[in-house]
Structures are given as C-alpha cells and as structure tokens.
Amino acid sequence: MVLGVLIGVGEAFFPGRTTNVQRLWLHLPPAPAWPNGFSLVMGTLVDPLSALVLIVVTVVGFLVVLYSIGYMHQDRGLARYYAEIQLFLAAMSALVLANNLLEFFLFWELVGVCSYFLIGFYYERPSAASAAKEAFLVTRVGDVMFLLGIFILFDLYSGAGAAGGWAANGFVFVHNGAPYLQGLQSHSTLATIAGIMILGGAAGKSAQFPLHVWLPDAMEGPTTVSALIHAATMVAAGVYLLAITSVFIGFTAFDDLLIVAIGGFTAFFAATMAVVHADIKRVVAYSTISQLGYMVLAIGAGFTSVGLYHLFTHAFFKALLFLAAGSVIHAVGTQDLFKMGGLRRTMPLTATAFAVGGLALAGIPPFAGFWSKDDILASVYSVLGAHPDYWPFFLLALAAVFLTAYYIFRAWFLAFSGEHPRAASLPHAHEGPWTMQVPLVVLSALAIGAGLLGFLPGIAHLLGHGSALSGIANIPPVYGLPQIGLSAVSVGLAGAGILVAWRMWGNGRVFTLAETSAAQPVRRLLLNRYYMKAAYDWVGAGAVYTVARAADFVDVYVIDGTVHGFERAFAAFSDRLRRIQSGVVSDYASYLVVGLLIVFAILLLVAPFVLDHLGGG
C-alpha cells in the first residue's frame, strides 16, 4: 500500500515518465494459424493515469482498513473480512496497473467477486445474500458486453482480421513505448459496436443507467465496504475503463454521444431517487451513482482528465460521507434517518465530517467537489457549440446540482440538527474510538483540500497530461467570463438546494407530504426506484424462470418421454416375439425356413457388394 502511494507520488513529480514492465504469460510459437507466434503478457504500466487512481485506491484503502479496526470489532468472521478486503485491494491495484485489456478484465472480474463476497458478508441475512447475487448478476450483464468488446478489438488489432494476421502481442495497450491500439475510428461500424460494448461493461461496474440497480442494494454490506468498494474505488473502475479506452483506443462520435447521454441522464436520474429515501446509506449510494454519471459525462464529452479529476476528489469526500454515516450507524444502531436527530450535540466530530463531505458533494467552494464538478460543467459547456446535441444532458447535469445539495443536506438536517433523536429508543450516541476518528479527520482535510491539489504542480501534471502517451485534452486553462458565470449558476443552485432542505427539514422540522397531494404518485415512483428493480425481478425471477420451468417440463415429459416411448414400443415388440414361441415344432420349422431364406437373400444381395469393397473375396 505504501508502495502504491510512493509510485503514485513519484509519478507526480517525474513528469512524463512511463514505466512498463511486463512478463510473458503465455506464448505460442509461430504456426500456420498464427504465423507471427502469439503471446499474452502480464505487465504493469505506470503512467500518470494509473498513478492518480492508484493514489486514491491506496490512500482510501489504508484509511478504511484503519477505520474497520474500530468499526468491525464486534463482528464475527473478521479473518474473512480482512482477507477479502486485502484481496480486493490487491486486485484493484493490479487492475489500475494492468498494461493490457485481458489482464484488465481478469482483475476487473476479481474485484467484482470481492465485491460479491463483501456485500454478502452478513450472509445469514437473506437480504444481504440476495443483494450480493443481484450485484454479481447485473454487473455480469455488463461484463459479457465488455467481453464482446474485447473480442472485437482483439480481432481488429491482433486477430485474424488485422493486417498481417495474428499479431505477436494480443490486447496490449502499449508496445515498445507507443500506444498499440490506435486509429479505431477507421473501422467505424465495428468500432462503434466495440465502444458500446465497453460502455456496457463500464455501466455495469459504475452503476450507470440502466445497470445501476445493484448499487443501492449493495449497501447490505458493512459500511466500510460501501465506503471503499461501492463509493471510492471499485465503482470508479468503470469510469477508469472509459478513460483508458478513450486514451488508448478512442471512441467514435456516436459512442461519445451515447456516453454523454448515459452520464448526464444518470447524474440526474439517480439524484431524483436520493431525494425521498430514508436510509442514510442509500441516500449516499444514490449520490455515488449520480456523481459517477458526472464523470462519465465528462469523458464522453472528451475531457478525460476532468472526469478523472472528479474521480479523484469524489473518492475522498464520498469515502468521508460513508465513514461518517458508518460512525452514526455504529453509534445509534439504525440507518433510518427519521429515527435520528440532534446528533450534532453528542457527535460533533461526525457531524462536522458529514457536513464537510456534504459541502464538497454539493459543490460549494472551496471544498473539493466544487473544483472538479465545476470543471466538468465548464468543459461540457465549452463544447456545446460544436455538439448541440449535448445540450439536454448538460441541463440535466446542471439540474442535478440542485438536487444533490438538497438531498445531502436533507440527510444532514434529519440526522444532526434538532434537539434530540425522534425515536426515543435510540441508545445514547457517542463518537467511535480513535481508529474511527482519525480517518474522518484525514478525509475531511482531503475533502476540503483535494480540489486545490489539482492546482499543485504534481497533481496538475497527472491530470493535465493524463497520459504522456497521447496528450489527452487538458482542463480548460482559462477561466473566462462564461465559466465564471456558470460557476455562479451552479453554486447558486447548490445554495438554493441547501436552503430548501433547511426550510423543510432543518432544526428538527419534518416535512410531510399531504396524502392527497398531487406529488404523492411521484413520491411513490421514486421510492420504488421507478419500478426498475421490480421490472428486472420480473424478467429474471419471473419470465426467465418460467421459461426454465417450461423447458424442464419439456425435458422430462417430451424428450425423455419419447425415449420411454421407444422403450415401451420395444417392450411390446419383444412381447409379441415371445408369443411366437408356441412350442409347436412345425411352427419352428417354418420360422427356420423363412429365416434361412432371408439370410440367403442378404448374402446374395449384399455380400458381393461388401466383398468388392473389402477387396479380399
């Protein structure tokens, strides 16, 4: 872990250095089928892109493990917990450092299975077991698409479809210091399909619409897991995949529009659902989906480094929000916001930390989220002239700023403001042990400062140059009037969101929607998550299972039934045969004659033919 931080920091201060170390994993010597021979390698590629994410993974990973010592101390199965967390961190680091798509996919699946294990950590709870399965299956849909994308890319660049047949190195991003897969745009149709497939994989992992359903349910895992895997790191892997794809391979124009559409829509869509939920972890989980949407939007619009900038700041403030929420849950033993209240008096540190995280999430300057989110909006705005079809998604993203500020402060007011908890049964809350407090303090500092880090030479280098290999688009360097105006709009929207939240929920107030209100159906729609989970359940557990049952019926009664039919027919036939055995000698004699005639006939007709062929007669 320390090594990872060192690599990351080292990269920050040695501009442009790219280190690529690889070792042969599987080698096939030249053959008719692959005249150039064929090799698969396992390698590590340290470039600015991977260094940045590696810093996030290792720093947040370290803090979460430290926090776990306090948070998890009462749980059983701790050996399993720490083993799985370590496996996750190893796989995640390897994913970030992978130097080829196959290796990337390998560790991509491994972090997925770690997520499965950890969501199902409390496996005796049926809801946790179900959530783990759901997460695996939904991301599996994305993974299958990703696989197809890999196949297409492989075929275009290394396989039989490539010029010169099979290339010596399959899947590699970088070969002899140069990007290996480039110029995908020239194969436009296949390349577009490959891009869509990769987007599918990224959407599964990063919980983008329509594959977002698993992430809120993944909150069944311990809060530490939610902070590390389902907020800061693993879910960002999809964004990272889009980033490396855009750097090393490039998307076609249609793919870019699709990515923008999904990102912008998801940012808004997830935010709407966060507005009504009462579970503190779920609110934060929806905010994760929404923020990942912003990153996807930025990458689609061509600003990879801006998207990664947001990934960087988001990891810190989102981990902070989750750990603060965990601190609350640890203290009061419930996740229901409506039972909490007044906790700022007993848990001042946690209240402050959650507020810092909230301000960063809402995008209030000078907190981290402001710089990166504002960058995204400004960047997308700057290309609206060239791409007018990005407009609706830009507006959705802007609207989501208001919702974000509203829902996160709704949560803060519900939990921390007021005089005392709404539910009388809550235990007397107190702060956790130092192992839980230190990470909160460190992450608070990062949530305040990480945005400004973007202006430091080292980090700015990581972001600005992205990958030294391809010189991806830079952060818009000049803040002209439109950008400042846009910042003012977005900060204004965020402030308005906080104000509305205060009016409705602040100081112990509880806003109740009248039963007859016209907004009730909307509220139900949001609470039921647009019925998408229900629809997926209907397809998965309903339709597919019904088909399976029907197929099983056909298998047993039709296919095997036919077999039994033959069996019965044979039985009946042999029964007839038995009846010929009448015991009468003359009958047997006549059978004998008939039989002999048949044998002779066969010999006369068939034998010459056979013997001809045998060549011996």
Partner: protein, 492 residues
Amino acid sequence: MLPLISIVLATLAAGTALTFLAGARARWVALATSIAFLGEVALMFLDYTGWPGYAGTPLVPGFAEQETHAWIHLSWLQVNYTVGVDGISLVLILLTAILQIATVVYSWGESKRPAGYFGLVLLTCFGSFGVFVALDVLLFFLFWEAVLVPMFFLIGYWGGPRRRYAALKFFVYTHVASIVMLVGLLATVFYSGATSLDFAAVDASARGLPAIDQSFLFLALFFGFGVKFPIVPFHTWLPDAHVEAPTGGSVLLAGLLLKLGGYGLIRWGVEVLPTGFLHDRPVLFAVAFLSIAWGSVVSLAQRDLKRMIAFSSINHMGIVLLAIALDSSLGLLAAVLLMFAHGIVSALLFMSAGSVHHTFGTRDLASLGGITPTAPVLATIVMAGSLASLGLPALIGFPAEFAALLATWQGLQYWVLIPLGILVVTAAFYLWMMQRMLFGPARAVPPSAHDVPWFEGVGMGLLVGLTVLFGILPSLLVNVITSSPVHGFPGP
C-alpha cells in the same frame, strides 16, 4: 526407450485386479496404483515436452510413445495393438490420473463392498486411459466399451433409490450409440479400402473418400460420440445417471466419460473425415447452440443439486462441441482446455454435492439453507467450484471459455451472442444455488451435521488447488496441447 504406455496399462490392469482381491485393504491398493499412475503420467509429460514450461519447442513428431505390435492378421485386414499419445490425449490422460487419485482419496470412507467399489473406479480409469491412447479401431472400441461396464455396476449397485433404472438407461443408451459409432468406424474403414485398422492407415485412406460419403459417415460418428457428450436431445440419460450414481461414479462420469465423446470426435471424427466434418458443420453448430442454451436454462429450474450440475455439464460440453465445430486452431485449443477444465470443475462440484448429501441428508435446494456456519469448509468448496464453473478469471474455466468465445467470434461473428448471453444464465443458477443453500438462516440442518471428513476435504482440496494453479498458469496445458501435430498447431 521404455514402452511407457504399455507399462501404464499393465500398472492399471494389475492394480485393478489386486484391488478387487484386496478386501478391506482395497483402498490402500487403489491409492498406491493411483500414485504410480500419476508418476508414470508425469514421466510421459517429461518425455513429451521436456518440462511443460514456456519454451514449447522440443517436440516429438507425430504421436509420441508410439508402440505397434501385430495382433490379428488376416489376408485383407491387419489389426494391431497400436498406441500413442499427442498433446491432446496427454492432457486428457493427466485429467484421468488426477481424477482417479482424487476419487480414491475422496471415497476413503466407502464401506459398502470397498474392494468392488475401488476396483470398478480403477477399471473405469483404465478404460478411459485406453481410449485416450488407442490408435487402432478395434482397440479403441474395446476400451470404449470397457468403460461402460464398470460404470454400469457403480451406478447399479452403489447408487441411489432408482439406481437400477438409471444404470440400465445409461447402459442401453450409450451402448446403442457405441454400436452406431462402431458401424460408422468400420464403414469408414471398409469404404475407404484401408487394409489396416491403425489410425494412421484409416486416416490416410479415409481422407480420399468423396464428400457425400464422408458426410454420412461423419454423421454416424457424430451421433455415436455425441450421445456421450451428451448433445441435446440425446441427453436424458445423463441427469438420471448422475442423480442415482454414487459420488465417485458421478465424478468419473462427468469428469472422464463425457470427455471420451469429445476426444473421440476430435481424433476419429474431425481428423479422419475432415471433408465430412466441414459438410456437417451446420448440424454441429445447431446442436451445440441448442445444448448450450438448453443445458443452462434447464439448470435454472432444478431443485436437486446433482441434477443442476448435470445440466450445467450439458451446457459446458455444448461449448466444447461449438469450439470443435469452429474448425480453427484456437477453437480446438479451447475445446481441449475446456474439457480439462470441466473435468476438474465438474468433479469438484459433484464431490461437494455428495458431501452435502452425506452431511445434510438431502440435496434438495428448496429445503436446504444456511449451511455455511455448520460446514464452512464445504461451503467454501461449493463456492470455489461454482465460481470456477461460471468462468471466474484466475480459475481454470476462464482461459478455456475465453478462448472458446473468442474463437467463436472469429469464426461466427454475432452468433457468439448466444453463448455470451447464456453466460449470464449460467452465473444466475450458480449464484441462486449458493444463495439458497449456503446463505440465509439455517434450514434443514440436522443436529448431527458436521463439516466434511478429512479425506473428502483432501480430495476436493486437491481439485481446488489445481483449479487455481491451471487458472493462473494455463500455459502449462496450452503448450502441451498446441504441440499436437494437428490442425495448424505449431506441431513438431
């Protein structure tokens, strides 16, 4: 040079005979035989490639370890005892040795006539080994049939409540297929005018047959080998046989017997009748896609754990068939790798299903639940097997499935969407099984329930270890397979 194959055959024959006679000490004899077998297979590997490392260059032309002795001599036909191996058969022989030792260790506690049980297990492996090395039609057929008999008795005597029905169904079904296969092989020999039943002679003369003859002959062989795969719709013997078979029987049935079909199709079908194979490819594709989809979807509806695994075997062997039918080097490599992977993983799954049955008295997924706290080792093993079977990277199934699907994309383009989509269904039924059986509150856990006994744990642990080893280093197998002198592989 030592006649290694004959030595192995002698070892297995002697070991089997001694095991039958050894009474209560049968398991020790069986274990000693298995260890000797494994050692000899290791020698064969050393002989073949040096050590299966990354070099992959010093290879033997044609079949290695070849031995030929005149056996039956007629004026118009020469029957030899001809044996030999190439990379494909060597990998499957390794599988045989691994499964034999794992089964013997796993079944260490067998108390019902142990001498007969272990003897039949060894006899099955003996027959399978023979199939993988035989290079003569008659010899091949004898070994092929020699596998059926011990399996018939394993199911029929040591099996579950409906064992007689299942054993008979297994025997009749596969025997009918064997007859068709034999007729196909003999017709190939006689139509092509080969004067020897040796593989090389048959191969050389059959290639000259006209396309239409080849295509009919290939269909006959395909049916004969296909029933063993098994292919839909000729698969219904398999679930019944698996459900009723004792654990060791299921392990060998899924791990080895199904591979005989795949191996036979490659060696005696695709290689001997290449033109017929190319003609009949549409049929193979159709059957393969049907098996892939049918096996997976029907698995989803199963309540009996063993029946579910049996249908998943149909799905996996469907992918093997698809990979063979692609007629590409990558496809063939994938097919062999997948057979090996499925051999290990399905054996592991059937062992764990057997342990679930011993421990909890039922395999009914609808009534079992939450067994993890009672049997954490067993639960871990079930999980490892399931994840390997659904193709998790770093486990053995992944490289094989990846290669198969990549080859499918290269050969058939968007048809690959069928097996890819089915991957989701496969994941679904394994995950749902784990959710119902391993997780949640404990249900149907008898107070006497305990974790697996040591010998079952060791047997399954061995397979889990290999699943990881070959998952991380598939090159250990790939370099051996691709050194086979067939189908555009690097060869000698």
